[in-house]
Amino acid sequence: MSLPNISRVSASGLLRSSCDLRWLLRSVAPLAAPRRALTHMGYRRPGQPREDRPPWWRVKFDLAKGLKGMKRHFKLLKEEFFAPFVGPMGKPIIEHMLEQNQVLWEFRGPHSLQEWTISCDREIGGKSEIYLKVGRNNESCLLYGTLCSDPPKDGETRYSGYCTMRSKQPLASFDRKKYHDWSSFNTLHLRVRGDGRPWMINIVPETYYTHQKDDMYSYFLYTRGGPYWQDVKIPFSKFFLAHRGRIQDDQHPVWLDKINSIGFTLGDKADGPFQLEIDFIGVCKDYAHTEDFAYEKYKRNPEV
């Protein structure tokens, strides 16, 4: 098989050039998370200059805001002080022990949107858009936007095109971290109305070691589309462990006693507008579900 008149580069020239080319610079698409207050600097887009300002410069000193904040914190502190007199978590103990369903987020009105952050790949230079607004008649929330999977031209990123919505970390008084405790439940129940796109639900628990920072337990949310609401029940035993978007070899079920946040991600490489309406998100205890974990826990890739 010969092709005439093909210009050829010499073999040694090729070897030299392969070192120059950045074929081997592979980067995983960075984690789509809103900037967390506890991270040192957040994500820095490649090509953006580093900020040299000292971290205390970022704090804004404003008396009115400070006073309002103080009032809010002390109010929360008072509530926290008197809550244990009612029972654990502020609920009577019989309710805490026996309850079978708990509604976590119910989207009724603009105040319910305060607990959520949205983010898309615009942070890394992509072209997607995402917006969150209250649905018709304050009865749901609508997450909509456009997905565009053109990767940003910064030489590093290879894949792009994602949009996410994530719940904010619950905070106690004085901005202390509070965790969701779902240890008495075993199923996640959502009422959504999508447009047929497959979403991914990510649960981020609180971890101890730094290398566990981007650990996420994920599962798929397939929407049917159409004008009818869809009840989705996903047992927590189905969530698999992923780190920075890569599924891990050593799997274990998600520990439900300290959950930081839950999020929805769209990254199905289908460019175009999308929308997802959520009515409520709750957890429930399904006595019929006895599965411990859906994936094998033994070591499947023994060491070399």
Binding site: M1, S2, L3, P4, N5, I6, S7, R8, A11, S12, G13, L14, L15, S17, S18, L21, W23, L24, R26, I94, E95, L98, E99, Q100, N101, V103, E106, R108, K133, G135, R136, N137, E139, S140, L142, Y144, Y159, R191, D195, G196, P198, F220, Y222, R224, G225, G226, P227, Y228, I247, A270, G272, P273, F274, Q275, E277, D279, F280, R300, N301, V304
Partner: protein
């Protein structure tokens, strides 16, 4: 580098060899005797059978496109593909390029770069979902060279660039959702040995892909039907959420030639209605209007189709009547049970949320042209099975662009010329993009009363 562009071809044996000098063949011994030129290029019989040439080798000189023979510009492997791309981009030409590369150099110099270039060019040639092409690409790697032979080599990430390249090939396969087969595994084992990174990646793919293959409770058939009517029937059945629903094709697409010689194409109209919806429509109060709303998007893998719905506002609480179950309707089991279940807190099975009442949906349809004339045709088609439609005023709320589904008939200011009786208005909704578009399209929107 005088003859840097020389390419010697052994025509008979079909094996091409690149060298910077000239190559002599002695027919008697059947072995290649190589002249050592300035670059000390020595060609050995490298894991292949001895070449028996029957004729003098031909010296073929390739030149650059612009005729200069001594340019020192960097020519990347992608140029190979681009040269071929000028003619036609098919699987055959892609395979051809790979063949040219494999047969050019026995040592496959620059194969890593070539494979990366090939991976990048695959979508252009349309072969990114073809497993045979990936296997052929993996075949470009020389076999057995990169297999570690002792424990030190195994420890120290033997041939990291090539392993990374192999992993990237598998990664592209994974991102397109292609399951590798046994040939891939055999190739990978031959190239990299067991316990190498590409084999590990292959094992991971083979573990997780089957687990997630059937995880979609609403699977989309692959490939999607080409015919728009079939696609409409498929998607309507999907969103109907009712197995008893019946689809009706009110009109097949056809083109009509008018008297003036113009061709007018008529779109297809496919509708769906389930018996429950028919019942609801029959019970609807004729004084209240029904709305034809749309188009709403529905995504099936990568195609977006649009559907329209016929719905009404929820009945206000004063008009709601209790449905009395006729006990004689069913003798096998009672339709209504009044049990005093002694349920305490631990048996509460429903969530403590207010039930949304968004009004019933009576029917859905899909059509390629969503103008009022077409939808009128749909309504008249529906009327044959639901005679009450003839007495109910129908309002059309057709908007281009993404719209939220449903909701009580709260209209933004200026939405409808004739406010439906007792609809609630919400003034001053936040001006977002979609609503700004709604305001702009208001004069263009088709409004009509159908009696």
């Amino acid at each position: 580098m005088k003859c840097s562009r020389c390419l010697l071809q052994l025509v008979r044996s079909g094996r091409t060899v690149v060298q910077r000098g000239s190559l002599l063949l002695s027919p008697s011994s059947g072995q290649l005797i190589v002249q050592h030129n300035q670059q000390q290029q020595v060609l050995r019989q490298f894991r292949c059978s001895p070449v028996s040439a029957k004729s003098q080798p031909e010296l073929v000189r390739f030149v650059n496109d612009d005729g200069t023979k001594k340019t020192k510009s960097l020519v990347t492997q992608e140029d190979l593909f681009e040269q071929v791309a000028k003619e036609s981009k098919t699987k055959a030409t892609f395979n051809q390029v790979i063949d040219v590369f494999t047969k050019t150099d026995i040592r496959r110099r620059g194969h890593v770069e070539f494979i990366y270039a090939a991976l990048k060019k695959m979508p252009e040639f349309g072969v990114e979902r073809d497993l045979t092409v990936y296997n052929k690409l993996l075949d470009v790697f020389p076999k057995e060279v990169f297999v570690p032979r002792n424990f030190i080599q195994r420890m120290f990430n033997h041939y990291p660039r090539q392993q990374e390249c192999g992993v990237q090939v598998l990664e592209q396969m994974e991102s397109y959702g292609i399951m590798p087969n046994i040939e891939t595994k055999v190739l990978l084992v031959q190239i990299f040995g067991e316990k190498s990174h590409p084999i590990r990646k292959y094992q991971r793919i083979m573990y997780w892909f089957p687990k997630f293959k059937h995880v979609n409770p609403f699977p989309v058939p692959q490939p999607l039907p080409e015919d728009p009517v079939d696609l409409a029937i498929l998607s309507l059945n999907r969103i109907a959420n009712d197995l008893d629903a019946k689809t009706t094709v009110y009109q097949l697409p056809f083109t009509d030639i008018t008297e003036s010689g113009e061709e007018i194409s008529f779109p297809h109209i496919v509708g769906i209605q389930s018996p429950n919806q028919m019942e609801l429509l029959a019970k609807h109060n004729p004084n209240r209007p029904v709305f034809v709303e749309g188009p709403f998007p529905l995504w099936l893998k990568k195609t977006c189709v649009y559907y329209y719905i016929l719905r009404a506002d929820p009945t206000p609480p004063e008009e709601k009547e209790e449905e009395v179950y006729d006990p004689e309707r069913c003798f096998y089991y009672p339709l209504q049970l009044d049990l005093d279940l002694d349920r305490d807190l631990g048996d509460e099975e429903n969530f403590d949320v207010d039930d949304l009442d968004e009004g019933p949906v009576f029917a859905m349809c899909m059509t390629s042209q969503g103008d009022q004339a077409t939808l009128n045709q749909w309504i008249s088609g529906l009327q044959q099975n639901n005679p009450i439609l003839g007495r109910i005023p129908t309002l059309f709320r057709l908007d281009a662009g993404t719209r939220e589904l449903e909701g009580v008939a709260d209209t933004e200011a200026g939405h409808s010329h004739q406010p439906p009786p007792q609809s609630q208005r919400e003034d001053g909704l936040p001006a977002e993009d979609s609503e700004a578009a709604v305001e702009e399209e208001e004069p263009r929107r088709s409004r009509g009363m159908k009696q």
